[in-house]
């Protein structure tokens, strides 16, 4: 059955992929949002409508989020009602839990699906003792913030027909917040395993030349961006701590920070790290590459010997799936958000925010027998192909659409 799907959300990969899937299935999709992800030729079954919602902001003086009062959303709600009256959607799907969801709920759009995409992370975070980073949300406010999020999300969640979450732990949490008639679906982003695979070694060798990385170097690659919760500085500290014991040459490769949006003082952090590296005499062992186009990431994974993912809060990043598809060993923080997945069986888990433990893990991983590693990672790739390929995720999402659009079956 071909459907009319109204989508809304921020214009990132997490929105673009389900949008691609729906369009590829032949559904008619209208996207309302601030950014049109199709900048060239528009697909025939697609229309973009500019829709700007005010967004919650963070007040640094009171250290709290300022939510947009519902009555200030009336113009957006009216616009959305008008769009819905014209389009008559079979399904409304909002990506990210933000004020677009408020508007959809207030406009009475049903069936309404929301994909969390990281916005519910705080519901599964472990309690923290130390502040996130200096000048960030002090921990004294974390529990208040959590309660506030529960209050806001509780109201929103009660009005949804389905919520899509990225990890099994969030499924459990949402079960306590939703009624049994509301659906909770576990559909992470997944990856294209035809594109992300381990057979780019000759291309990876060329990249090593460009990045001045010796052929025989052991490369630790941190593929996440620079962000307040991704702990790049701790990855560096662990590398520095264990550097002398690593097989040489050893290289730590980061994605370069983009200083255009530096709300968290990251540029300063990056500079301090470089100064420290010079003092320690390991500056030559650090490399940065700019944020690459997503399509080029498979070669980046392929040039790495070890991938490091070390946030202290997370949903379920595609990094973990992409690295697995490329058969790279991964060291990752042990988060509740990753429990109940392949991560526990196949990756090296390290307590978050523990430089000592991360350093130890780096050493352990490079000492692992190559035979055991290859066998384990081949098995993991097979698991990813069967369970995390984009086709699997697309099928799950399309099935959900069909079932909600025609609940009687």
């Amino acid at each position: 059955m071909t459907m009319r799907i109204l989508m809304s959300g921020l214009g990132a990969l997490a929105l673009k992929r389900p949008l691609d899937w729906a369009l590829a299935e032949g559904h008619e999709v209208w996207l309302v949002g601030e950014y049109n992800p199709y900048q060239g030729k528009q697909p025939n079954n697609y229309r973009f409508i500019e829709f700007v919602t005010p967004f919650r902001t963070y007040d640094w003086t009171t250290n709290s989020w300022i939510y947009i009062p519902v009555d200030q959303l009336s113009a957006n709600v009216a616009q959305l009602k008008e769009i819905a009256a014209t389009f008559k959607p079979d399904i409304t799907h909002v990506h990210y839990v933000h004020d677009d969801v408020h508007c959809c709920v207030l406009a009475g759009l049903h069936p309404l699906i929301v994909s969390a995409w990281g916005f519910l992370n705080s519901l599964v975070d472990e309690p923290r003792e130390e502040p996130i980073i200096e000048s960030q949300i002090p921990d004294s406010n974390i529990s208040t913030e959590k309660q506030r999020l529960k209050n806001v999300y509780g109201w929103l969640l009660s009005n949804l027909d389905a919520i899509i979450v990225e990890n099994p732990t969030l499924v459990e949490v949402c079960q306590s917040l939703l009624s049994p008639t509301q659906r909770i679906e576990h559909i992470p982003l997944g990856t294209d395993t035809q594109h992300f695979h381990p057979n780019y070694s000759s291309n990876a060798a060329k990249w090593r030349q460009v990045l001045k990385i010796p052929d025989n170097a052991t490369v630790f690659f941190s593929p996440r961006a620079w962000y307040w919760c991704y702990e790049q500085e701790k990855i560096f500290q662990a590398f520095a701590k264990v550097y002398a014991d690593l097989p040489q040459p050893a290289i730590l490769l980061f994605i370069k920070f983009n200083p255009v949006h530096d709300d968290y003082g990251i540029e300063k952090l990056e500079k301090e790290m470089l100064t420290q590296a010079k003092t320690l005499g390991i500056a030559d062992s650090l490399r940065w590459i700019p944020a690459l186009p997503y399509e080029m990431m498979p070669t980046a994974y392929n040039l790495a010997d070890v991938v490091i993912n070390y946030p202290f809060t997370d949903a379920f990043p595609s990094t973990l799936v992409e690295a697995a598809a490329c058969q790279r060993p991964v060291i990752t923080s042990d988060l509740r958000a990753y429990r109940g997945t392949f991560v526990e069986e196949y990756y090296t888990l390290v307590e978050p925010r523990n430089v000592e433990a991360l350093a130890k893990a780096m050493l352990e991983v490079v000492k692992e027998s190559p035979v055991e590693r290859i066998s384990r990672l081949e098995k993991l790739r097979q698991h990813i192909v069967e369970n995390y390929d984009e086709k699997v995720m697309s099928q799950k999402l399309m099935t959900l659409y069909q079932e909600l659009a025609s609940p009687s079956g």
């Binding site: 594109h195 780019y200 291309n203 060329k206 990249w207 460009v210 590459i289 700019p290 944020a291 690459l292 186009p293 399509e295 080029m296 498979p298 070669t299």
Partner: protein, 103 residues
């Protein structure tokens, strides 16, 4: 740029800050210095790969002529246009085949 005949004996090399990635039969190039990406279609990808593998532009031209079986003047025009565009975008350099110096 010089005429086609004059550059035939020269060779092509990627500039030092250019990363490439195959996407099926197409490819993507990324220039680190400018942080810009470039998409090449199937034909341009094949042309560039042959140019990079060949000892001279002439050798690449002859191979492409055999592969595509098109009129020489069309191939000459397309090949020159591709080289010009890639040079303009600072992705490749035209080099002297003996000295390896950029020309």
């Amino acid at each position: 740029m010089e005429s086609f005949d004059l550059i035939l004996i020269k060779k092509i090399a990627l500039l030092d800050d250019v990363l490439t990635h195959p996407i099926g039969k197409k490819s993507m190039l990324f220039k680190i210095e400018t942080e810009r990406e470039f998409n090449l279609n199937e034909t341009a990808t094949r042309m560039l790969n042959i140019l990079l593998e060949s000892t001279s532009i002439e050798a690449a031209y002859n191979q492409l002529l055999q592969e595509y079986k098109i009129a020489p003047e069309f191939l000459q025009k397309d090949l020159l246009a591709l080289i010009e565009k890639l040079v303009y975008c600072q992705l490749i350099a035209i080099k002297n085949p003996v000295s390896e110096e950029e020309v």
